[in-house]
Amino acid sequence: MRQYLNQVTTIVWKDFVTEFKTRELFSSMFIFALLVIVIFIFSIDLSIVKANQVGPGILWVAFLFAGTLGLNRSFMLEKENGCLEGLILTPADRTAIYFGKMLSNLVFLLIMEAFILPLFMIFFNVDLIAHLGPLLLVIFLGTVGFCAIGTLLSSLSSNLKTREIMLPILLYPLIVPVVIGAVRLTGQLLAGETLGSMMNWVGLILAFDIIYIGVSIITIDHILEE
């Protein structure tokens, strides 16, 4: 078990060192998410619609689109110079490779979201501080679901010529339950409701997170096999 965890953290370490040197992933995700929010803020008249009604959808669209960029890049890095083959040739369990890549994607996405949230708060003039704890929990659970299924599909689409197109086509229909749940929860939290009154939505996201991770564990072996 210790070696398994070492292998997972080694993959995360490798992805962080690479990102620290290239700064390709974070900068592209952050700029893309920011652009989505800026485009929406200029196209919506906030004197007609309430920010807490449209804001959550826009926030999650920004996270999703930017996250997809990150997921695409994640396994492209492994395909360059045949690194994925080198990784598969190590004695590491395939699920350790999956969890390593998933954790990297999760942490990169959470960091990007941490930078986007204050900007969202300023642009939409909404008070996130009052609901910060529950909001962070919702964002975390939604992002876990997104990364869990996204990492699996990214590994699947990485062998395709049209991977940049195929990943969102495969991913978005599957991520719908988590996105709906996350948008509803974010909206109701901004409207002043407590998380305790919306546990059914929390349960829904949690259930899908577990399903996505479970499916990934079962299928990753076959996906990584040529």
Partner: protein, 246 residues
């Protein structure tokens, strides 16, 4: 599952029985069978598309055969056993190195993935062994093809495998790079490692190996001991074998 360390050293390190592999309607391997003893060096010759890389990939457990069996270091290659991956080192067409990491970071990464103690020290030693100590802190992106190949070999042997699969390791190397690689492979062979190498360089393959085989259209059209072959005329014979095989 047999423990390879307890295997009889005189028993074959690699046993292949009637391996076949099809990709759709294409028969990449058409029933290959052979044994390779511990410490033996086999070179596979053959034209492009003969199925050499497919055979290496099957033996390395990277892809499964359509039918037939293969045992490497006592492990059935179809079981995906991590023990097999501990016992083999593979050099393929690609370097399997992360371009934006340094040579030391790359090898430390692989050493950790193999669960080796003192990963960084092992990585430094491996880089020193291939003569690139002075470049260990440089990114792989800045390395020439020959230097990348040397680091790739260091990656493949960092866990001290008993069996090596080398798929066209001389591709893209200049004469000096080829010479350095030859000497290094020779030193690995003298350490009693079992090696299978594919190459188009006939004289090099004959010089380095104990046995040679010519693979044509997914099967062995010829197999023989290197020291029993007429090295001066083998190239002509090779072309005859290929033409007969077609």
């Amino acid at each position: 599952m047999p423990d390879p360390s307890k295997l009889d050293p005189s028993s074959p390190a690699i046993q292949v029985q009637n391996i076949r592999k099809t990709f759709g309607v294409v028969n990449a391997l058409n029933g290959i069978s052979f044994d390779l003893n511990t410490g033996e060096f086999l070179t596979l010759f053959g034209p492009n598309g003969a199925g050499k890389t497919t055979l290496i990939k099957i033996l390395a457990g990277l892809t499964k055969p359509t039918s037939g069996t293969a045992t490497v270091a006592g492990y059935d290659v179809q079981n995906g056993d991590s023990g097999l991956r501990r016992d083999i080192g593979v050099i393929s067409h690609t370097s399997c190195l992360y371009a934006d990491l340094t040579a030391l970071e790359n090898l430390t990464f692989y050493a950790k993935m193999y669960g080796l103690d003192n990963a960084k020290e092992r990585a430094m030693q491996a880089i020193e062994d291939v003569g690139l100590k002075g470049r260990m802190h440089d990114r792989i992106r800045t390395f020439s093809r020959g230097m990348q190949q040397r680091i790739s070999i260091a990656r493949a042997v960092i866990h001290n495998p008993s069996i090596l699969f080398l798929d066209e390791p001389f591709t893209g190397l200049d004469p000096h790079g080829s010479n350095v690689l030859k000497q290094y492979l020779h030193s690995l062979h003298t350490e009693k490692r079992t090696i299978i190498m594919t190459t188009h360089d006939i004289s090099c393959g004959l010089e380095m190996s104990d046995r040679v085989a010519v693979q044509v259209k997914g099967k062995f059209a010829f197999m023989g001991k290197s020291n029993e072959l007429d090295k001066n005329n083998f190239e002509d014979r090779y072309f005859e074998i290929i033409n007969d095989g077609k």
